[in-house]
C-alpha cells in the first residue's frame, strides 16, 4: 500500500516536473495538473494509511478516537483541490489569450531562433 502510493506520487511528480519544463504552454498546464494531483495525494497520505477501515466508526466497536481517520488532511486536500482547480482554469484562459495575442503556444510568446 505504502509502496504503491509512494510510487504513484513519485511518478506523477516526475512527469509533472518534466512537463513543466517543456516549452509549450499546454504541456506546462498538464504538468501543473499532474503536480497538483501528486501534492493532493501527498497531503492525503499524511493522515496515515489504513486499508479497509471505516472512516469514523468500526462495526461492533465503541467509538474511540483511535478509530477515527484523521479529518484534517482530508479538509486540506479538499481546499487544495478547489484552489488548484480554480487557478488552473485561470491559467487556461491566460494560455488562450497568449495564444491569441502572440500567435504561438511557446511559453515565451515567441519561437526560439534556431
Amino acid at each position: 500500500m505504502e509502496l504503491i502510493l509512494s510510487l504513484g506520487i513519485g511518478v506523477l511528480t516526475g512527469s509533472g516536473v518534466w512537463l513543466l519544463l517543456r516549452p509549450r504552454t499546454f504541456q506546462v498546464i498538464i504538468g501543473l495538473c499532474l503536480l497538483s494531483y501528486a501534492v493532493n495525494l501527498f497531503i492525503f497520505s499524511t493522515g496515515g494509511l489504513r486499508t479497509g477501515a471505516a472512516a469514523i466508526l468500526q462495526r461492533g466497536e465503541a467509538g474511540t478516537l483511535a478509530n477515527y481517520a484523521d479529518p484534517l488532511p482530508q479538509a486540506l486536500t479538499l481546499t487544495a483541490i478547489v484552489i488548484s482547480f480554480a487557478t488552473t482554469a485561470l491559467l487556461l484562459v491566460v494560455l488562450l489569450a497568449s495564444r491569441g495575442l502572440t500567435g504561438t503556444d511557446h511559453v515565451d510568446g515567441r519561437e526560439r531562433d534556431r
Binding site: L20, T25, V28, L32, L35, S36, V39, F42, I43, S45, T46, L72, P73, L76, T79, A80, I83, S84, A86, T87, T88, L90, L91, V94, L95, A97, S98, L101, T102, V107, D108, G109
Partner: protein
C-alpha cells in the same frame, strides 16, 4: 469576555471581502457606485489598521478565535506589532493605488475594483492569521486577485509576463502545500504557536523531516520574496503591470518577507532547541546574492519600470540578509527599512507612469490598450476628462518627487532610507564579537554598493526623463494621479521626521519577534483559559 473591540481584528478581512462582493453585485458598469464602495472600504480599512496599530502598542499579543472554537481546533487570528504594522502599510499603499486608478486605469479593463478589494483581503488575512494552512489560503486569495491585477489592461507584454507569473506562483503554492503537509504529518499541528512549542520536542529521527518540510515551505516564501535565484520573474511582471496594479503588487514581495519573519523567527528562534537558527546562513547568503543581483539589474536596466522592479529585488535582498543575521537590533532596523521601502517603491511605480507619459511611451501603450478593450463611448468619455485640469509646473513636481524616491531607495540622507540603512549597519558593528565576521563586512559592502548602484541608475534615468526629454511635450497629469504619489512621499517624510518613535516601535516589534514567548503564551494560554472556563 470578548468586547466589540476584540472583534475589530477580523474586520480588515471582512470589510474588503464584503466590499468586493457588493461591487460584483452592483456590476462593473455602475462605476460611481463601485468607486463609492471602494472609497468607503478603503477608509474603513485605514481606520481599522490604525486602530489595531494603536492597540498593538501594549506588549501583549491579542488573539481572536474564529467561531470561538478552542485554539487548537479552530483557527486563530493574531495581532501583534508586526501584523498591525503590515496592515497599516497595506492600507496606505492600497489607498494610494486606489486613488491613482480613479484617473484612468480602472477603465483599462473589467473588474479592477473588486479584484483590488480581494487583493487587500488576501493581504490583510495573510498578515493576521496564526495558522499555517490558513496562511496558504490567504496567500491564494491574494495571488488569485494579483493574477487579475497583473493582467489588468491585457496586451501582449502583460499576458506574456502574466503567464510566467501564474505558473511560477502555482508551483510555489504546490511547494507550500508539500511543506505544510510534511509538517502536519510529523508535528500533528498547523497552529504556528503550537508548532513552535512542539519543535523542540520533535524526536531526533524526525527532526530532519520537519526541517526539510519547513525548508520546502520557506522556498515558497522566498519565491514570493524574490530571493536570487528564485526571483527572475519579478522585474518583468511588475514592469508589465499597470501602474496602480504594480504599486499594490510591490507589497506582495513583502508578504514573503513577512512570512519568513513570522514563521522563521517563531519556529527557529532561540527556544527551538536543536533546530534554533536553522537556515540563517541560507537567508544571509541568499540575501547578499539577491542584493548583488538586484544591484547589477538596477544598473543594467534601460527603462524605468524595470528599474523599479530591480529596486524591489534590492530591497528584498537587504531585508533577507538583515533578517538572516538573526539579531533583534538588526531586525528592528530592517523593519524600519521595510516600511520606508514599501512606501518609496509604491510611489516610484506610480510616478514612473506619470513620468513615462512625458516620453509618450506610456501614452502609446495606454492608447493600444484602449483600442484592444474597444468600448467606443468610454473612450470618448476618457478623452473629455483628459482635457480637464492640468497642473502647472508639473515637470518640476514630478522631478522633485523622482529625486525624493531616488534618495529614499539609494539610502542617502536626509530621508528615511539613510536612517534605515544606518539602523541596520550600526548594531551589526556595535554588538559584533571582536573579530567581525566576514558576512557582516560583505553585508556592509553590499548595502553601500547597492545604494551607489541605485543612485547612479536613478540619476541616469532622471536625467534622461526630466532634462534631456524636456523637448517632448509636458505630460498632462490630473490631481488625483499626483496626490497618491505625494501622499506616499509625505508618509516617507513623516517616517523620517518621526524617526525616533518609529524606530522605537520597530525595535519593540523586533524584540517581540525574537522572544516569541508572549506570542506562544497568548495563543496557547487562551486554550487553558477556555478549557478552564467552559463546561
Amino acid at each position: 469576555m470578548i468586547g466589540w473591540m476584540d472583534h475589530l481584528v477580523i474586520a480588515p478581512i471582512v470589510v474588503p471581502m464584503l466590499a468586493g462582493a457588493a461591487m460584483i453585485l452592483a456590476g462593473d458598469r455602475r462605476r460611481r457606485l463601485v468607486v463609492g464602495i471602494g472609497g468607503v472600504s478603503l477608509a474603513l480599512i485605514m481606520a481599522l489598521a490604525i486602530a489595531l496599530l494603536l492597540r498593538a502598542q501594549v506588549p501583549e499579543v491579542r488573539i481572536y478565535r474564529l467561531g470561538d472554537w478552542p485554539t487548537l481546533f479552530g483557527i486563530v487570528l493574531v495581532t501583534d506589532r508586526l501584523s498591525a504594522l503590515m496592515l497599516v502599510l497595506t492600507a496606505c499603499l492600497g489607498l494610494a493605488a486606489f486613488l491613482f486608478s480613479l484617473a484612468k486605469w480602472q477603465r483599462a479593463g473589467v473588474y479592477f475594483h473588486p479584484l483590488f478589494q480581494f487583493q487587500l483581503m488576501g493581504l490583510n488575512g495573510a498578515f493576521l492569521t496564526g495558522d499555517l494552512f490558513n496562511l496558504f489560503v490567504f496567500f491564494e486569495v491574494m495571488l488569485a486577485a494579483s493574477y487579475g491585477m497583473a493582467l489588468h489592461g491585457s496586451g501582449v507584454a502583460r499576458v506574456r509576463a502574466g503567464l510566467h507569473y501564474l505558473t511560477i506562483n502555482l508551483v510555489a503554492s504546490l511547494l507550500f502545500l508539500v511543506g505544510v503537509s510534511v509538517v502536519y504529518g510529523i508535528a500533528g499541528t498547523l497552529n504556528m504557536a503550537d508548532l513552535a512549542a512542539r519543535i523542540p520536542l520533535v524526536a531526533v529521527e524526525d527532526r530532519g523531516l520537519v526541517e526539510a518540510g519547513l525548508a520546502v515551505m520557506g522556498v515558497a516564501f522566498l519565491i514570493k520574496a524574490a530571493m536570487w535565484p528564485l526571483g527572475f520573474w519579478l522585474p518583468g511582471t511588475y514592469a508589465a503591470a499597470a501602474a496602480p496594479a504594480a504599486a499594490i503588487l510591490s507589497i506582495l514581495s513583502k508578504v514573503g518577507i513577512y512570512a519568513i519573519l513570522r514563521v522563521w523567527l517563531l519556529l527557529f528562534g532561540p527556544e527551538a532547541g536543536a533546530s534554533a537558527g536553522f537556515g540563517a546562513d541560507w537567508l544571509l547568503v541568499g540575501g547578499l546574492l539577491t542584493i548583488a543581483f538586484g544591484g547589477i539589474a538596477v544598473l543594467a536596466t534601460q527603462d524605468l519600470p524595470r528599474l523599479a522592479g530591480a529596486s524591489v529585488l534590492v530591497s528584498s535582498g537587504t531585508l533577507l540578509a538583515a533578517i538572516g543575521t538573526g539579531q533583534a537590533a538588526v531586525t528592528g532596523g530592517a523593519l524600519y527599512y521595510l516600511a520606508g521601502s514599501v512606501l518609496a517603491i509604491g510611489a516610484l511605480f506610480l510616478l514612473i507612469e506619470l513620468a513615462e507619459r512625458a516620453r509618450e511611451v506610456g501614452a502609446d501603450v495606454l492608447a493600444v490598450t484602449r483600442e484592444a478593450m474597444g468600448p467606443g463611448e468610454e473612450e470618448e468619455e476618457a478623452e473629455a476628462e483628459e482635457t480637464g485640469v492640468a497642473i502647472p509646473g508639473i515637470l518640476a513636481i514630478l522631478g522633485l518627487s523622482f529625486m525624493a524616491c531616488a534618495l529614499l531607495l539609494a539610502g542617502l540622507p536626509p530621508l528615511s532610507g539613510f536612517l534605515a540603512k544606518f539602523a541596520i549597519l550600526s548594531p551589526l558593528l556595535g554588538t559584533a564579537p571582536a573579530p567581525i565576521p566576514t558576512t557582516t563586512w560583505l553585508l556592509m559592502v553590499a548595502l553601500i554598493l547597492s545604494g551607489l548602484a541605485t543612485l547612479i541608475a536613478m540619476a541616469r534615468a532622471g536625467i534622461a526623463v526630466f532634462w534631456v526629454g524636456q523637448a517632448s511635450r509636458v505630460p498632462r497629469v490630473r490631481v488625483v494621479e499626483l496626490a497618491p504619489v505625494l501622499l506616499l512621499l509625505a508618509l516617507s517624510g513623516a517616517l523620517t521626521l518621526g524617526g525616533g518613535p518609529a524606530l522605537a516601535y520597530m525595535q519593540a516589534t523586533a524584540d517581540q519577534l525574537h522572544a516569541p514567548g508572549d506570542y506562544l503564551r497568548a495563543v496557547l494560554g487562551a486554550r487553558a483559559v477556555l478549557t478552564g472556563g467552559t463546561p
